[in-house]
């Protein structure tokens, strides 16, 4: 399969577009959950005890 054929396959095959949408949304949700956890962890004891990890 040439790169052109692959691109054609991705763009034109039913279902692949929908899968791309789901992947994008899943990545976004995972990122936002991680960000929320990171914000809320700020200033907790765990962070205070391990300053050397933060400075890396």
């Amino acid at each position: 399969m040439t790169p052109g054929e692959l691109a054609h396959f991705i763009v034109n095959t039913p279902g692949i577009g929908g899968a791309i949408v789901l992947i994008v949304i899943t990545i976004a949700i995972a990122t936002y959950i991680s960000l929320a956890r990171w914000i809320l962890k700020g200033g907790t004891e765990e962070n205070e005890r391990r300053p050397q990890r933060r400075s890396r």
Binding site: V11, G17, A19, L35, G42, G43
Partner: protein, 451 residues
């Protein structure tokens, strides 16, 4: 339970006052709005049972008021992102008191934008087919992706910036009903108010603001491409993306003016929302008004000089034909009257600003109508044979009214549950002690010493 640290804000009691208790007037307003929402729901159920034949849509006018609503609501949703994200990126600190009121417009109008599409589909049970059979060559799928991501990101952006204030409600509002206090406890996610949390929150919001700016440009451009990627006269132009985007930010900012004026009056927030804020928005609105007329002239002059028969068919429909009344009403409502008001009357006058902003939003709804419908009545391939007609039916009007009522209802209820002015963000700008936040170290060693 140990309470969190909260930055001091002189206007805290003013801002929290609406959250404490809903009045009898609120309840009557909510019941009235809910009645309209239910009427729309009933009309939609009837449409679902009987089919889209109950609307004015027909061959070749496949998109009508629902698509107009879709573009309008998505446009309205740009207000929050513009005020919050774009002005944040630009470092405009005066926007702080407006952010939540603007973001709430985004949050509550986006679902109705999505709902407009579902209503227009007729067979909403086939929604999953977009995923199962979706092909990425279709602009409709791009739209689905962009709008979904925008909705998700807007909710998160809004929630993150709300977190410290939810914690403040949790800690300060002890005399609210138990369910309300429990809601604050759950939604605050254990926010402790540590300076490092604020530091991280600001970092994330700054980063998200850049991302949101890109998303907002993408979303309305992609919305316009649903039209622009067809080769229909009036739609197939490279200008349609920027044109839609500018219109969206324009109507969104005008909506912010209306909302702020209502909040200021009803909740007595005159000290928190001074008239100078409206003056700042006025300058932006003057710029957008001139930008809008520039787009209109660029678009129509290019079409006129090209003089392609099928393009001119639609062109004259708008200027002198069946849609002339709506077209010229749009020009008067979006450009002529608002510009005169903004320039000559708007400064230091909130009533004039609100008047102009209401006209802008009515005009911008008409603009979306005038972009969509005339092209459909004169399709490219059959414009000499097909003379399409479209008259919206009562079903479409009732459903449209119910969506606007739903937007107002959600907004009104929200203002009674959460502070509509961001307490922690305005505290920064109100010359009060926020030393832990101000002492932002540049290096990690310094950060440890200051914390």
């Amino acid at each position: 339970m140990k309470t969190a640290w909260h930055p001091e804000n002189t206007y805290e009691s003013d801002i929290l006052a609406p959250v404490k208790k809903a009045t009898a007037v609120d309840w009557w307003l909510w019941i009235g709005l809910l009645a309209v929402v239910l009427a729309g729901l009933a009309a939609w159920v009837r449409q679902y049972i009987l089919g889209l034949g109950v609307t004015g849509m027909n061959r070749p006018v496949y998109w009508g008021v629902y698509l107009t609503d879709f573009v309008f609501f998505i446009g309205l949703a740009h207000s929050g992102t513009f005020i919050s994200a774009i002005l944040r990126v630009a470092g405009q600190s005066w926007r702080a008191p407006l952010t939540r009121a603007a973001e709430a417009i985004t949050l509550f109008s986006l679902p109705f934008g999505v709902a407009s599409i579902l209503i227009d589909m007729g067979r909403v049970d086939r929604l999953l087919n977009v995923i199962v059979y979706g092909r990425f060559q279709s602009p409709l799928l791009w739209d689905f992706t962009a709008v979904s991501l925008y909705l998700l990101s807007s909710v998160v952006f809004f929630y993150f910036s709300l977190l410290p204030d939810i914690a403040l409600c949790r800690d300060r509002l002890m005399d609210v009903p138990g369910w309300k206090h429990r809601m604050y406890e759950i939604l605050a996610l254990g926010w402790s108010g540590h300076p490092e949390q604020y530091h991280r929150l600001e970092k994330v919001l700054d980063g998200m603001a850049v991302f949101m700016t890109m998303v907002v440009v993408t979303v309305h451009t992609v919305v316009s491409w649903v039209f622009g990627m067809t080769i229909q006269p009036g739609w197939h132009t490279a200008l349609i993306g920027p044109f839609f985007l500018l219109g969206a930010i324009f109507s969104g900012t005008a909506a912010v003016v209306i909302v702020l004026a209502i909040l200021r009056k009803v909740y007595h927030l005159e000290n928190v929302l001074p008239v100078t804020l409206f003056n700042s928005l006025r300058k932006l609105l003057i710029t957008f008004t001139l930008g809008w007329i520039y787009m209109i002239i660029a678009e129509f002059l290019t079409t006129f000089y090209g003089n392609l028969p099928e393009e001119m068919e639609v062109f004259w429909q708008k200027f002198t034909g069946d849609f002339a009344l709506i077209f010229w009403a749009m020009v008067i409502l979006v450009f002529i009257v608002p510009l005169a008001i903004f320039v000559f009357r708007g400064k230091n006058s909130i009533p004039w600003m609100v008047t102009a902003s209401v006209l802008v939003n009515i005009g911008m709804w008409l603009e979306r109508y005038i972009v969509i419908i005339p092209t459909e009545t004169r399709p490219r391939l059959l414009y000499e044979l097909v003379q399409g007609r479209y008259t919206p039916t009562w079903t479409e009007w009732v459903i449209t009214a119910s969506m606007f009522a739903g937007l107002f209802l959600l907004y009104a209820v929200f203002t009674r549950l959460f502070p509509i002015i961001p307490l922690w963000e305005t505290a920064e700008t109100l010359e009060h002690e926020m030393e832990p936040l101000k002492r932002r170290p540049r290096r990690f060693g310094e950060r440890k010493a200051s914390a």
